[in-house]
Symmetry: C2
Subunit: 451 residues, 2 copies
């Protein structure tokens, strides 16, 4: 299979950046701070350094303390949250006060807020216009997914003497909205391009996604690359059943940076072989499986016991899957396995529902009844109950049927019910991918050399 490499690149300085997330709902444990993780990954992709993340509640004095501390050690301070319409939303006020600047209305934001309420026929309160306030002298970042604009402020020399750090050539504060869909879009479309334009070195980064190998195995195979030779960094990110590798390099221009990355990506692909399923940032494992099915004009059916629909659900994550996805069966009970998939009563009695023989029949029945070329079937003991000495919690069988050629594998997963089910789902997709690749490499041996 040929895998194209996609690059994320742009001109940007190697900045030291730190994140301050504002919101009492994070301190109460109401929500998980996904914004901090999103921003952190974005910094890594741009080659920024980051040493701290802070969360603080909706309290002006504490927000100011945090910003002051961050400015003492970082070039760019990114705040998220607290730009909304309520009296609790005071991030802009606190930052403006710290800098001694005033807040002014942004007319584009005022217009968008009026338009929003008019369209919905709802009454706008005076509070809603608070969202249109921005810090004087700051660059306004329009919010295309919500009402509160973002602001990016370059600190003046005087401000840096008072609350910043003169060791840096420049210092910036960036205010982003709290809702993830607003923050992510504003970062990607407005903030990141601007920060990149601040010139300096050019950073390019590329993603290599591999499946079916453990994190430690990948770390061992790529040990020298991960430890780094200097100008190209390789950072592994573990996911269930997958390892994602971000390759980043700096260069004199985009072409130069990309040229430094290319041989490293090639080297990773050669060492990890077929387990690399994509080098595209946005491509998920399920998407690569669906593409593989489409490319080979195969239709698929799922037959699930312990995963209860999770494999089908991941395939349906892929928009436009209807071309290949025939049907999905959730057969949690023995009766359903018999009635819907034609599993034999005798086989269930002799080997039990969690057995190689039963998943094999499930895979056969699923493809037969739904008239599909391919099927995947799983049966396992997800726990907490149901385990025995012979068949402990975590024992899972997965069968893949490609045009009648059936592969059955036994797995032992650890963790709680949800973790076992997640692992089962991931490894079902991984086995599915491996079986399709093997089936076609047998049919068309030699052709793969082109890749």
């Amino acid at each position: 299979m040929r895998v194209d490499t996609e690059y994320t690149a742009g001109a940007c300085k190697t900045m030291t950046v730190e994140t301050i997330c504002v919101g009492s709902e994070i301190l109460l444990g109401n929500i998980v701070n996904t914004n901090a993780a999103f921003l952190a990954a974005q910094y890594t992709a741009l080659g920024f350094n980051t040493f701290y993340q802070t969360v603080v509640g909706d309290n002006a004095e504490r927000i100011k303390d945090c910003v002051r501390l961050a400015l003492s050690r970082s070039e760019l301070v990114v705040l998220s949250g607290g730009l909304g319409p309520t009296q609790d939303d005071i991030t802009k006020d606190a930052v403006a006060e710290l800098l001694g600047r005033s807040l002014v209305r942004d007319e584009t934001a005022v217009y968008r807020i009026h338009e929003f309420f008019e369209k919905r026929g709802r009454r706008m309160s005076e509070n809603n216009l608070r969202q249109a306030l921005v810090i004087e002298g700051g660059k306004v970042l329009d919010n295309d997914n919500g009402l509160a604009p973002g602001v990016l402020v370059h600190l003046s020399g005087e401000e840096r003497d008072q609350v910043g750090n003169r060791d840096f050539a420049d210092q910036l504060i960036l205010l982003l909205p709290g809702p993830p869909e607003e923050l992510e879009r504003m970062w990607k479309e407005k903030a990141a391009p601007y920060l990149q334009k601040l010139s300096g070195r050019v950073i390019a980064s590329s993603m290599v996604k591999a499946c079916g190998r453990g994190e430690s195995e990948v770390a061992e195979l790529l040990d020298d690359l991960i430890r780094g030779t200097g100008d190209v960094t390789v950072a592994p990110y573990a996911r269930t059943g997958e390892v994602h590798l971000r390759v980043t390099a700096a260069g004199t221009d985009e072409k130069d940076a990309k040229q430094r990355i290319r041989p490293v990506v090639k080297e990773i692909k050669s060492r990890l072989g077929d387990s690399v399923y994509t080098t595209h940032e946005e491509t998920s494992l399920e998407q690569s499986v669906v593409e593989l099915l489409k490319a080979n004009e195969l239709t698929i059916t799922t037959a699930e016991s312990c995963t209860g629909g999770m494999i089908a659900s991941r395939l349906v994550n892929v928009s436009g899957v209807s071309d290949v996805f025939k049907a999905g069966y959730v057969t949690y009970s023995n009766k359903a396995k018999r009635k819907l998939l034609g599993v034999k009563r005798k086989t269930l009695e002799k080997f039990g529902a969690v057995s190689a023989d039963v998943v094999r029949q499930m895979a056969e029945g699923a493809a037969f009844y739904a008239k599909s070329d391919v099927s995947v079937a799983v049966s396992g003991i997800a726990g907490p109950g149901g385990g025995t000495e012979d068949k402990p919690v975590g024992l899972v069988y997965i069968a893949v049927n490609i045009c009648g050629m059936i592969t059955v594998e036994e797995y032992h997963f650890s963790g709680d019910r949800m973790k076992v089910r997640n692992s089962t789902t991931a490894y079902a997709l991984i086995l599915l991918r491996r079986c399709i690749l093997e089936y076609y490499s047998r049919l068309t041996f030699g052709e793969e050399e082109r890749g």
Copy 2:
């Protein structure tokens, strides 16, 4: 339906606590910081105050700076991560150095580490014994889910003069392991009970979970309670289709604290009515639905289009669901809707797959073919493609069939493909619950008064 109230209670001081999560993998955006959210929710349940969360990398100087700052403003500093066997794991070293204490081997931990490697027949490296080190004079918290023990240190007067804050009667540092399953268990079983024993006021808390009402609607209905009358706090947590309310009160003893909570929980239940599905901390919406099915001896079948198995998967989250769960059909294509569920070709042609008529037939067919009492069917446009002016992205139909009595509802959800599918799944469970309750309240009118 009768809902029992479960209490979490214990004796504990109202402490000011702050969290420092150590780990470069968080700063790289490799993982989402769920530990901080878990601990935050636990602090809230115990009535602790918390004003800051920090994330710092595996760097001794920076860790020490963060701990010093935290000790200047908090009574209890909880650190998570960096207790592992590698050279990067330096949290204990940094804290010991800051306090001027040494590290000593904990013999229980040494024994457990030896045992772990022996059982697996693996060779233990000297590095692994680093995990058995604890801070001298600290209380050791055994790790029942892993190898690195936790440590809880009371600062001496001298230490507090040097790096702490004498305004507090006492100051503590708690070190917890980074892996969530180790951290959570150690907190619940070892750390929280000890902190509670430090005496002072008694805190009790209780959880009320409601579904099918928006966050703003709940906030409005409970406005006076959420704003608070003083000694009982009500904190709302929004989830997809749900609002969870944590009710917390302090009292002279456990009985007193519980007595303060009881009338508030009762008041919330009376104002939110049937939308309250549980007052048990651990009960999920799918679990309450499964219990409702079991209580009424009903079996269920799912028929899913855009959710692709997510509803079945949530039901299968519930251990022991096999008593009630007959089967699940994932019928994403029109053909599958016809073949597996008997939806009429004419209906599909006339009204389209996303229509009230089609989900009705899906619900009828699912119950008929799987011979179940109840069925739930969904069909919708999850996007990003497939929307039209008449049928925009986010339009979803859900049908529930209780013994032949069919309810169909139309929904308009916002957000991306995943968000629309998540909302659809949640509202399918909510409609299912509502229809079962209504069905039985019709049959046994008057009986509900006992609740």
